[in-house]
Every structure is written in structure tokens, then in C-alpha cells.
């Protein structure tokens, strides 16, 4: 046991570098996912069949093929097919972003649809332009509804980052695996790794709770401070349905 922790301390620079890679993949991946969620989710509400069709196809494609396969496709298959090669971290960011963006699109679509019809009509009656309507009336209300689901998705994304280990990107799991192989203490190593991911997930949840409170405040809904420390709503992420 002590052997493990002394090795762990010796390897601390690598571990913190690995933690940094994991955080980078999480942040960049979720940014890409967020952008795609909004693009695809708003496209799904378009009046044009072609626009809706494109969004539907992309969403179903990236949800239907496994993230694992997508990641490896970008890493192994794409260089062979196109000659372009991405670094492992970039592969991870692209695959995570595309996959979770497809799931996020359903969240955006559902939340926009759940804004009461009367709000659209009122904005229309006030002669607001479509962009103005979306920005000032629909999205602020939809955003509050999206946050809990996005929190779930964000945690899922964080939980998918250890896949980078398989591409030998030097992420957190790679670093801890290395310590494990030096000491042979499997149980300690993996429990420690799980604990770190748990802390990261909880930190992200706190951040999202803060965001949710902020969004609610903008709508004039005030929430108590106790809500900030709750664990994420256990509402399951919709994988197949997504209709509300």
C-alpha cells in the first residue's frame, strides 16, 4: 500500500499532466457538443423538410453507431481513407463532440418544443423578428429546461474520456495505469482512479447547478442555496426516444 503511494508521489507530474489531458478532452469535447447540439437541435425545428432531414440523419447516425467505434474510426480508418491524421486528443475531442452533440440535439429540440405555444404567438403578435424571438423569448425559457439534461450528458462525456487511454493519449487513466503497472496494486489504483472521476463529476455538477440557478434567476425564479449541492438529477438521459 505505502509502496503504491510513494510511487504515486514520484509520478505526480505525469498524473497531473494526465489530469490536464482529461480535462482538456472534457472541456473541448463538451464545447463542440454544445455547438452541435444547438445547431442540430434548432435545425430540427425548421419548417424546411430538407433542413430537418439533414439534422435527423446526422443525429441518428451518430447516436446509432457506438462512440467507441466512432473514436476508432477517426483514429485508424480516417488516416487510411483520407490521408489526414489527427492527434489522439483531437480524435477524442471530435468523436466525443459529434457523439454527444447528437444526443444534445434531442435535448435542445425537446426543450424548445416544451416552451408554451402562447409564448411564440405573443412574440409573433409583438412583431418580433425570428432571431429576436428565439433569442429573447424562446431560448431563455428553453435553456432552463435544458440544463439538467445537459448536466447528465456532461457527466456521461467525462465518463467516456478514459477511452483516450486506448489511443495512448496521455490522459489520467494512462498515468494511473502506469503507476499500477509499476506497483501491481490493482485494487488501490483503480479505486483511486474511480474516486478522482467521482470528484470531477461532482465538481461539474456543482458548476452546472450554479448555471441553472443563474438561468432561473434571469427568468425571475429564485431558488435556495441548498439546491446547489444536490447531486445531479437522476433523470435518465433519453437514448432512443427524446420526444416529449
Amino acid at each position: 500500500m505505502s509502496d503504491f503511494f510513494s510511487t504515486f508521489l514520484d509520478e505526480l507530474p505525469q498524473i497531473s499532466a494526465g489530469l490536464w489531458v482529461t480535462l482538456e478532452a472534457t472541456v473541448l469535447g463538451s464545447l463542440l457538443a454544445l455547438v452541435l447540439s444547438f445547431a442540430l437541435g434548432l435545425m430540427a425545428g425548421s419548417r424546411l423538410l430538407a433542413v430537418r432531414g439533414v439534422s435527423r440523419t446526422v443525429v441518428e447516425f451518430f447516436r446509432g453507431t457506438s462512440l467507441y467505434v466512432q473514436l476508432f474510426w477517426f483514429y485508424y480508418a480516417m488516416p487510411q481513407l483520407t490521408g489526414y491524421e489527427l492527434t489522439p486528443l483531437l480524435c477524442g475531442v471530435v468523436a466525443l463532440g459529434l457523439n454527444f452533440g447528437a444526443y444534445g440535439a434531442e435535448i435542445v429540440r425537446g426543450a424548445v418544443n416544451s416552451v408554451p405555444r402562447g409564448q411564440y404567438e405573443a412574440a409573433l403578435a409583438l412583431n418580433m423578428s425570428p432571431v429576436h424571438r428565439m433569442r429573447k423569448v424562446i431560448l431563455p425559457q428553453a435553456w432552463v429546461q435544458m440544463i439538467p439534461s445537459f448536466t447528465n450528458l456532461l457527466i456521461q462525456l467525462l465518463k467516456a474520456t478514459p477511452l483516450l487511454w486506448l489511443l495512448s493519449a496521455a490522459d489520467l487513466m494512462t498515468a494511473v495505469e502506469h503507476v499500477r503497472s509499476l506497483t501491481g496494486e490493482s485494487l488501490t489504483a483503480y479505486l483511486l482512479l474511480l474516486a478522482v472521476y467521482f470528484v470531477l463529476a461532482y465538481a461539474l455538477t456543482l458548476l452546472m447547478n450554479l448555471l441553472e440557478r443563474n438561468a432561473k434567476r434571469r427568468l425571475g425564479l429564485h431558488t435556495g442555496a441548498a439546491g446547489l449541492f444536490r447531486t445531479r438529477s437522476a433523470e435518465p438521459v433519453t437514448t432512443a426516444g427524446g420526444d416529449r
Binding site: 457506438s66 480508418a77 481513407l81 477511452l163 474511480l194 472521476y197 437514448t239 420526444d243
Partner: protein, 214 residues
């Protein structure tokens, strides 16, 4: 380097992938079964009268839910070296997803009107009979579509099993790709098989959800 898609290699790889696909399906079905049964047990335990039961159960479930499946899988395989990898894989998938399905059951149980509990008490039914005859039949019906969705998402996570040397489809894809330097063909086919298998299931689940009035 072969910049184009080699159809010959694809035709050769497909039977191997489908062979591995049987293991993928087996793991999904058994894993779902474990998750469905264990999740129910956890949900019922979560309503136990004593906090000595409910608090630890909830804490463990929160931990399992918040930590990566891949780490759980690799860790379990490294600790239980004497157990067959497929068994470890099914157990870990089942426990991981049970943490989610237990929440689904919980919501389903909460959805049964309070009056039903009161009626059972008025009829002086035993707790066991209350669960069996009144609460669960109503709860489980509402929960089925969500369980189906988890089965689909578990199916898409079975490739993790390749890491602990279970010879499922992705394991075969990786092997074929490396042996014949045909990564494009192997990985593209693997993705397509997933798409072909999971999309109709998704549609089916959506229909089921609509029919049950969600």
C-alpha cells in the same frame, strides 16, 4: 496505404464481425437482465424504512453512476483475474446500468398514486403482497420503455468488453484491421452493424413509449 475502400476485404471481414456480434448480443441481453433485476432490488431497498439501508445504497449507486464504465471494467478484470472475462464484463455492465435502472424504477414506483398504498393498508395487506400484487405491476409497466432505452445504450457500450479480451465484434474488428491492415473496412463495417442493429430498436422503443402514453 490503400486510399480507397477495399470491398474484397470488407466481404472477408463481415462474417468474422458477425461471429463476434453474437457475443455482443449475448452480453447485452444478459447485462440488461442483471440490470433489470438488480435495479428493481435497489429501488425497493431504497424505500426501506431505515436510513441505515437507504443512505449507503444511494451513496454506492451515486458513485457507480458517476464513474467511468471503462475504469470499472478494467479494474474488475484486473482484480478478479480468475473469473472469465465475459462473466466479469456482464456483471460490471449489469451493476453499472442497475445504478441507472434503479432510478427509473424509483420514478415508476413514485408514479403509483398514493391512494393505492393507502388502499392496501386499509385492506391490511402485508408489505410483500402490497408490492407484489398492487405496486410493482403498475410501476413496471411504466418503466418498460426506459429500460429498453438503457438496453440500447448498453448495446452501444459493449465494445468496452474488447478491452478486457472478450471476443465480441469490436475485438474481431480490431484484430482483422491489424492483421490485414484494413482498418477502414473493419471499423466502417463495425459502425454500420451497430447502426443497422440499434436504429430499428430505437424506433421500436419510441413507438412503445408513444403507445404507453408518455
Amino acid at each position: 496505404m490503400n486510399p480507397t475502400f477495399d470491398w474484397e476485404a470488407a466481404r472477408e471481414a463481415l462474417p468474422l464481425l458477425l461471429e463476434g456480434f453474437r457475443v455482443t448480443l449475448l452480453a447485452t441481453v444478459l447485462g440488461t437482465l442483471v440490470a433489470a433485476v438488480l435495479g428493481l432490488a435497489i429501488a425497493v431497498a431504497g424505500r426501506a424504512p431505515s436510513r441505515l439501508v437507504t443512505v449507503p445504497v444511494k451513496a454506492v449507486m451515486e458513485f457507480v453512476r458517476s464513474t467511468p464504465l471503462l475504469v470499472q471494467l478494467v479494474g474488475a478484470a484486473a482484480v478478479f483475474t480468475s473469473v472469465e472475462p465475459l462473466t466479469v464484463g456482464i456483471a460490471v455492465l449489469g451493476v453499472h446500468y442497475a445504478a441507472y435502472t434503479s432510478e427509473v424504477y424509483r420514478a415508476g414506483i413514485d408514479g403509483v398514486p398514493q391512494g393505492q398504498w393507502e388502499a392496501c393498508r386499509a385492506l391490511s395487506m402485508s408489505p410483500r403482497r402490497t408490492w407484489q400484487a398492487v405496486i410493482l405491476p403498475q410501476a413496471v409497466r411504466n418503466v418498460l420503455p426506459a429500460l429498453g432505452n438503457y438496453a440500447v445504450s448498453m448495446f452501444k457500450e459493449t465494445p468496452f468488453l474488447a478491452v478486457i479480451t472478450v471476443q465480441e465484434m469490436v475485438f474481431e474488428a480490431r484484430k482483422y484491421g491489424a492483421d490485414h491492415f484494413a482498418y477502414t473496412e473493419a471499423w466502417t463495417l463495425a459502425g454500420l452493424v451497430f447502426l443497422v442493429a440499434s436504429y430499428p430498436t430505437s424506433l421500436l422503443m419510441r413507438k412503445l413509449e408513444k403507445r404507453l402514453g408518455h
